[in-house]
């Protein structure tokens, strides 16, 4: 299903994920789901600024990044994170569909996009760099 996940299991180390989303309910559900899939959620952030700060201090392997944030949007945060020295895998997510966001996704610095309803550990791991 996913070579990334296999590689990870081979290394006997869980993938470390940071969730950036302003809805606490989604963060909680995503955390249970990803942890059930064997990933390690190492941090949560409610807006773009604290998301960037957390990414710099925690240095996760993957950042799950909501497109719509209260202070900025996920595309701007992705560009900021991509330009940084430590470059995590950046996966955008949204309750909107990929078609709705197609224009923005075409040029983003992020590595991938998962609609919120289709989130799973395997889907996330598939974008791992």
């Amino acid at each position: 299903m996913s070579s990334g996940l296999a590689a990870c299991e081979h290394a006997r180390m869980a993938i470390r994920v940071l969730i950036v989303d302003d809805h606490a309910a989604f963060r909680a559900t995503a955390r249970s789901l990803l942890e059930a899939d064997g990933l390690e959620v190492v941090g949560e952030a409610g807006d773009g600024a604290s998301g960037i700060a957390a990414a710099r201090s925690i240095r996760p392997e993957v950042v799950l990044l909501d497109v719509q944030l209260p202070d900025t949007d996920g595309f701007a945060v992705a560009a900021e994170l991509a330009g940084n020295g430590h470059r995590p895998t950046i996966v955008l997510t949204s309750s909107r569909s990929a078609e709705e966001l197609a224009g923005m996704l075409a040029t983003t610095a992020a590595d991938g996009f998962i609609p919120k309803a289709e989130l799973s550990g395997a889907a996330l791991a598939s974008f791992l760099r």
Binding site: H23, A25, T29, S32, L33, A36, Q68, S95, A117
Partner: protein
């Protein structure tokens, strides 16, 4: 005939009679040796002043000026008494020979009102002193020949006590000095009032100031020359006569100017017929009133405010400007803001505004229409904007609320399925969470739907819908809905949102302890009243909520009134006309 006209005819009759008598006296005199042409000139001057006075007396507030001008003419012909054979009349002529000069100074300084300002009283008094008591003293010590009244064969000076050349010359110099002081003083005052006049006032006084000043200066020159000249009285006398003839001409010029101004009203009437565009009426009034600073403000009775021709609010006039209210058919139509000097030409302004009344009334309606159109355009833009904003809010609410819940629900269900076999307890826990998320999503959707349009309103009408609002309100609400039947649905919806928004405002800002809501139907109108006992001071022009309500109500031809005196609670009243359908 009006009193003005009676006075005018009396002045004319007096002047004509005096002139006639003087001519008769001079022509029947046994000793006068002046040629008859001089008498005609002399009589013309008297008649010019008399006629000028009669004409002035016809003008409103011109009576005093008219009497003064006619007095100049009548005192002028008194000089003819020095030509009669009767000794008493002759002596009276010697005494009053120069009175006209003082009256002339009086008339010039009293122009245009006919009243002397306090500062002009002293020079005028000096003038009278020089031609009455001083002249009296001179007559007592001089012969008619000394007095330059006749050369030979004239009547006796009945007042002569003893001939004293030295005393006479001293008195003559004193008289000239007094007269000169009075005249120079008077000229200074005239120039001073010229310098202080507004442009409009200058138009009125210009001929009098310049011709009048010139004339009295020429009279001085003439008097000085005649007193010290030994070569006879002809040349200086002619100078004086010519100068004197100029002054009534100045008055006549002034009158002609006033007439021209009146005929400008005639031009205005013609121009008004040519239907000027916005602001064209103002230009026509500027031309006829000759005041480039003139502004026209139109009265909007409903808004209790003045606007310009384009319907924009008109600022209060500065305190140094004159204002004239224009009425038409008993109603306030407009206000002219103009040069304060126009108040002196009340008659002209009245004539112009009377002529322009109908046109101003039409232009007022136009201004009102433009204002309404502009307001309509704005409210339409606001309604569209409000609709767009509402849709954005709905999208946002759906996205943040129900959609997030459903996304979470979907993830939770996936989690449950993945644990179903490996960890049934965790799966059951996830299913419980999913159930909870579904319940919340449903509640949020219901709330959202009610915000868009309350179903109870369309299904059961205003009373139960308002009851539901009242029950949810944190404050005690006294609700009184007295409606026999249901209102048109648009009115129901607007009324519902007026109440909902008002209750929200009360809860947010009013600091009230109770709210009263009354809904009723009066005289073909539906009325919705929301009153609280809070702090008041709400400004209906501020805040998009009340503005949006106003637009909603006005879109149905209704009216929203907000009364919110500081500290006395707020009352919102919406009234809707109910058209028979």
């Amino acid at each position: 005939m009006s009193r003005r006209h009676t006075l005018s005819w009396c002045l004319l009759a007096t002047g004509a009679t005096a002139t006639g008598l003087a001519l008769w006296a001079a022509l029947t005199s046994s000793f006068d040796d002046n040629p008859p042409a001089i008498f005609v000139f002399f009589a013309l001057i008297a008649l010019a002043w008399t006629t000028g006075g009669a004409a002035a007396a016809r003008r409103p507030a011109g009576q005093r000026m008219g009497i003064l001008m006619t007095s100049v003419g009548v005192t002028w012909v008194l000089g003819a008494l020095t030509d009669v054979d009767n000794s008493f009349a002759f002596t009276l002529g010697l005494l009053l020979n120069n009175l006209w000069a003082a009256v002339l100074l009086h008339a010039l300084l009293a122009f245009p009102s006919g009243r002397l300002e306090p500062r002009a009283r002293l020079p005028v008094a000096l003038g009278y002193v020089s031609v009455l008591p001083v002249q009296f003293a001179m007559v007592m010590v001089a012969t008619p020949k000394d007095l330059n009244s006749c050369d030979h064969g004239c009547a006796d000076n009945a007042l002569l006590v003893t001939r004293n050349q030295d005393a006479f010359h001293a008195l003559a110099v004193f008289q000239i000095v007094l007269a000169a002081v009075a005249i120079v003083w008077g000229v200074v005052l005239l120039i001073r009032s010229w310098r202080r006049a507004t442009p409009l006032e200058r138009r009125a006084i210009a001929p009098i100031v310049w011709l009048g000043s010139t004339a009295i200066l020429m009279v001085i020159v003439g008097s000085i020359v005649s007193t010290f000249s030994k070569s006879g009285a002809d040349v200086p006398g002619l100078i004086s006569l010519t100068a004197f003839l100029l002054v009534p001409i100045a008055f006549v010029v002034g009158l002609v100017r006033a007439r021209l101004a009146r005929s400008a009203v005639g031009d205005l009437v013609v121009e008004l017929g040519e239907t000027p565009g916005p602001g064209g009426l103002r230009d026509a009034l500027v031309r006829s009133l000759r005041d480039p600073s003139l502004e026209v403000a139109y009265w909007l009775p409903e808004e209790h405010a003045y606007v310009d021709a384009e319907g924009r609010p008109f600022p209060d006039p500065a305190p140094d400007r004159g204002t004239t209210l224009v009425m038409h058919a008993g109603e306030r139509v407009a206000m002219l803001v103009h040069d304060p000097a126009l108040a002196e030409q009340r008659e002209l302004v009245d004539a112009a505004t009377a002529a322009a009344g109908l046109a101003l009334s039409n232009e007022r309606l136009q201004a009102e229409l433009r204002r309404r159109l502009e307001e309509l355009r704005r409210s339409r833009a606001r309604l569209v904007e409000a609709g767009d904003a509402e849709r954005r809010r709905l999208e946002r609410d759906l996205h943040d609320g129900a959609q997030q819940r459903l996304v979470a629900l979907s993830l939770t269900l996936r989690l449950a399925r993945s644990r179903l076999e490996s960890d049934p307890a965790a799966a059951e826990q996830a299913l419980t969470a999913a159930e909870e998320q579904l319940t919340q999503a449903l509640a949020e959707l219901r709330e959202l739907a009610r915000g868009i349009h309350p179903a109870v309103l369309s299904d059961h009408g205003l009373a139960p819908a308002l009851r539901a609002l009242a029950d949810r309100d944190p404050l005690p609400v006294d609700l009184d809905v007295s409606l026999e039947e249901r209102l048109p649905w648009q009115v129901e919806v607007a009324s519902y949102f007026v109440v909902a928004e008002s209750l929200t405002n009360v809860a947010k800002y009013a600091g009230a302890s109770a709210v009263r809501i009354e809904v009723g139907r009066v005289d073909g109108r539906a009325t919705v009243l929301i009153a609280d006992d809070g702090v008041g001071g709400a400004d209906p022009r501020r805040g998009s909520g009340l503005r949006g309500l106003t637009d909603r109500v006005e879109a149905l031809d209704g009216r929203l009134t907000v009364k919110s005196p500081q500290g006395q609670g707020t009352t919102v009243l919406a009234e809707f006309p109910l058209h028979a359908e």
